[in-house]
């Protein structure tokens, strides 16, 4: 029976780890640009790059959330009857990597 709800299974597979790896990489770029811009606040090229990677990160986090579960509380997959933020493993357990 189709209940209209997506299955809420947490997948610990290779594809999930790969997507998280890509999110980590893009966030690293953002952190570097963030610190650089703090001391170079008029660098247009760096600001453009920050905007670009920030949008890319949001898209990837949305994809991750829909497929596997939430990473931030500002982007949630509401089409699910489970508060996966709390029911899924926390990052220090190692399963996130």
């Amino acid at each position: 029976m189709n209940t209209g709800y997506k299955t809420c299974n947490a997948d610990s597979g290779k594809e999930r780890r790969q997507l998280l790896y890509e999110i980590n990489k893009i966030d690293f770029v953002l952190k570097e640009l963030n610190l650089y811009l703090d001391t170079h606040p008029y660098d247009q090229q760096a600001m453009e790059a920050f905007k670009h990677y920030n949008m890319a990160k949001t898209k990837m986090v949305q994809e991750y959330t829909e497929k596997y579960g939430p990473l931030v509380l500002s982007i949630l997959d509401m089409d699910c009857r489970e508060w996966k933020w709390a029911t899924q493993d926390w990052p220090w357990e190692g399963g996130y990597n």
């Binding site: 980590n24 952190k31 610190l35 606040p41 931030v72 509380l73 190692g94 990597n97």
Partner: protein, 198 residues
């Protein structure tokens, strides 16, 4: 305010426990040059910082240090997960275990508790930024010391990442100091303290 991201800044996935090395690495959790002290130092110094860009550096590096504090916590946790009483006794982890079981508690490798005396918030731009640059180098040295003792690549990789971040932060604080000095009297940087003398 802050928001939490439910991931580590760099992956920590350790499959072999090692309570001996956990007792060394815990120094970066709550030791004199650890990540908790780093974060508290920068986040405390920023309120009286008269230059917005420098306050930005302190805020954003102070925030990143919290992510490093979490990574060190994850490393120590995974190195001591599910230890048996025999493993605890044999490894010398018993002295920590008796007070904290297998929980995380901020202390130095030698057992000294985390203490705010391990950092300064002096209220003088040059003094504080010099301390921050030294702090990044001290943390880098600590990671170098840890890396000489650690053989497990699953532990080395996140430690190497953290070591590299100390160097980046040192560079950024160097730029922050340059910005501060550009705002001071170039003939005498110490003529007045912009955090106090208005």
């Amino acid at each position: 305010m802050w928001n939490y991201e439910k991931r580590l800044q760099f992956p920590v996935k350790i499959t072999q426990t090692n309570p001996e090395i956990a007792q060394v690495i815990i120094s970066q959790y709550g030791g004199p040059d650890g990540e908790l002290g780093a974060s508290m130092r920068y986040l405390s110094q920023r309120y009286t910082m008269p230059y917005n860009t420098v306050a930005g550096v302190l805020t954003d590096i102070g925030t990143e240090e919290l992510a490093h504090f979490e990574m060190i916590g994850a490393i120590v946790y995974q190195l001591t997960r599910n230890l048996s009483p025999e493993e605890i006794a044999k490894s010398g982890f018993d002295k920590y275990y008796v007070d904290h079981t297998l929980a995380l508690w901020p202390q130095a490798a030698g057992g000294i508790p985390f203490n705010a005396c391990e950092f300064q918030s002096k209220g003088d731009v040059i003094t504080d930024l010099m301390e921050d640059m030294a702090a990044e180098q001290k943390a880098r040295t600590t990671y170098d010391n840890i890396l000489r003792l650690v053989k497990d690549p699953e532990v080395c990789e996140p430690i190497r990442f953290l070591r590299a971040r100390e160097i980046v932060h040192f560079q950024r604080f160097g730029e922050a100091l340059r910005i501060a000095q550009e705002n001071l009297d170039s003939r005498n940087f110490y003529a007045f303290n912009p955090e106090f003398d208005k």
